[in-house]
């Protein structure tokens, strides 16, 4: 950790004030990301990972609100800046790629309109120069005949192409930080691979930090440097990606990994995590994962504190899995 982090999130809390009560979608999460690095934010749907992304960009919709913590972008707390400053940062310094490419482009505006406006919202450049840059950006993400494509409407593109356009838009102003919210989930596997490859290439070339939100551990394994595993609004385990995936210490991480089919385990029954993700409105007291955890005990009735583990790992568990030389958990009876 020699480089100053691009983004340093400390104890971020984003709550939704609904009729049914307060839902703590993000409840005190801490992580940071250095320039050029990729952080994988993993969790089931409803774990708060998308809300984390929106919190960083200040785009949490009513009835949600960031209620606490700091989001330090190059030392500047994004929770405290004015709406206008936040707008200046969005799209230029921090940009976002959304989950569903079919929904992210405005159906009634042409691609060039949507790209040029993204440039001209931040820089006073002529339309011609902006168009030139838009064209280059499309070429950059591997779209053929960009001139023609610029004049098209979104519905004339396939899903993969639209996501490329969305990525091109996110890259237009050369941001330092990109928040990518499951950008490949809705796409075919082959296209997913291409996009992953291109994003990775672009980030390492430009030194852009990337937060990759996903529920797909295999994507994170291939792409990320750091990993944060979220469960019910909290980061339950984080650390260097290989360390965490090879030796998961939190039971939830362990469960996630063992429920992924892989060729090494072919023939062996897939294990699954019993039960369902809890409703954020009625979280169990103490550790939220305890009801589904086969190692839970009476300690788990209390909220665990963050624990530091070797290799710079952080952990939120009373009974972390410990490993001996055989990489097998010692079952304590």
């Amino acid at each position: 950790m020699t480089q100053k982090p691009t983004l340093d999130v400390r104890d971020l809390r984003t709550y939704f004030f609904t009729k049914g009560g307060v839902a703590k979608a993000v409840d005190g999460i801490t992580f940071s990301i250095a320039p050029g690095k990729v952080l994988g934010l993993v969790g089931e749907s409803g774990s708060g990972k998308t809300v984390t992304g929106f919190s960083i960009l200040g785009l949490v919709d009513q009835p949600g609100r960031v209620v606490g913590g700091e989001i330090l972008y190059r030392g500047e707390d994004l929770n405290k800046v004015s709406a206008e400053r936040m707008r200046e940062l969005r799209g230029v310094n921090i940009s976002m790629i959304f989950q569903d490419p079919m929904m992210t482009l405005n159906p009634v505006l042409r691609i060039d309109t949507q790209m040029i406006e993204a440039i001209r919202a931040h820089e006073k450049v002529s339309k011609e120069i902006a168009r030139q840059r838009a064209r280059d950006a499309l070429g950059q993400v591997g779209i053929a005949s960009p001139d023609e494509r610029l004049r098209a409407y979104p519905h004339q593109f396939s899903g993969g192409m639209r996501q490329r356009v969305a990525i091109a838009i996110a890259l237009l102003n050369k941001p330092d930080l990109i928040v990518a919210d499951e950008p490949t989930t809705a796409l075919d596997v082959t296209i997913q691979g291409q996009i992953l490859y291109e994003v990775q290439k672009l980030c390492s070339q430009t030194g852009t930090a990337l937060i990759w939100i996903t529920h797909d551990l295999s994507v994170v394994a291939g792409l990320a440097d750091q990993i944060c595993v979220m469960y019910a609004g909290k980061i339950v385990e984080s650390g260097e990606v290989n360390a965490v995936l090879d030796n998961p210490m939190h039971p939830y991480t362990h469960g996630l990994i063992t429920s992924v089919p892989s060729k090494n385990k072919r023939g062996a029954p897939l294990s699954q995590i019993p039960g369902m993700a809890p409703s954020l409105l009625s979280l169990p007291k103490g550790c939220a994962f305890a009801p589904r955890c086969k190692w839970s005990n009476s300690n788990c009735q209390e909220q665990p504190d963050i624990r530091l583990a070797p290799q710079n790992r952080r952990l939120l568990c009373h009974n972390p899995i410990e490993y001996n030389n055989d990489n097998i958990r010692q079952e304590t009876s």
Binding site: F16, S45, G46, L281
Partner: protein
Amino acid sequence: MTATDQDLTEGNKQDAQEFEGLQTPFKRFLSDFCESKLAVLGFLVIVGIVLLAIFAPLLTPTDPYDLTSVTILDSRLAPGEKMMSGTVAYLGTDGAGRDMVSAMIYGLRISLGVGIGSGIIAMLIGISFGLLSAYAGGRIDALFMRIVDIQLSFPAILVALVLLVTLGKGVDKTLIALVVVQWAYYARTIRGTALVERRREYIESAVCLGLSKNRIMFRHLLPNCIAPMIVVGTMQVAHAISLEATLSFLGLGMPQTEPSLGRLISNGFEYILSGKYWISVFPGLALLVTIVSINLVGDRLRDVLNPRLQK
């Protein structure tokens, strides 16, 4: 919508269902409806108006249709003045010397009667054609819906105007015109709902059980189409009342001898330039309160019964 938002609303629904599971559907409907105070107020006003209309002869100070007691000497008295008979005309008198309060209550009676009556008849006709259309499908469906389309592409006022020009004046004729204007809305709504419901499993299972077509249509399909019917019905009654008033104002529709609210306003229009406002203003207010109340209730019903219902 983000994944989390969805989960949140899912959670809400679950909670809400658990809570509502303890209630009957009607109670749930009632409590939903009562959430809007305006709608409740509207409903109470409607009840009041209907009672007023039903018991008009008992409640009015004079009988506006009794030609022996109505005298031209009383004409255009300002509100609060005393009539020849000694009765105080709290809202004044009209050009013929009728007490406005009495004339309005009787007028309301006619307006409501024509509005609700035409609504019910149109609903029956519309339901029959709509259900038949949905159930028969094919050419019959295409023919009926083409007729409905063409009729609905012309504004109601114009259709009613043409009809009344042809038919002449009278309560029965006004009723016919209003029914013709409205039936198509019902037919279209019920056909749309029925088409959706028809594909549901319970209809398929009824068909599998070998039930007769009539039984399926009226015992199975119809009850499931009632919610949208109620909503369209409320809105249509308000519309019919307003339309009848407009037609009467244009000199069509109700005859002079049985003045509806529209006709009363129209009568007062002659005197408006001389500042005798009450003859037009008060019947208009009565009309307004009636229609607004019905619309408030209808608006709320639409939200409560079927949030997806398109206008």
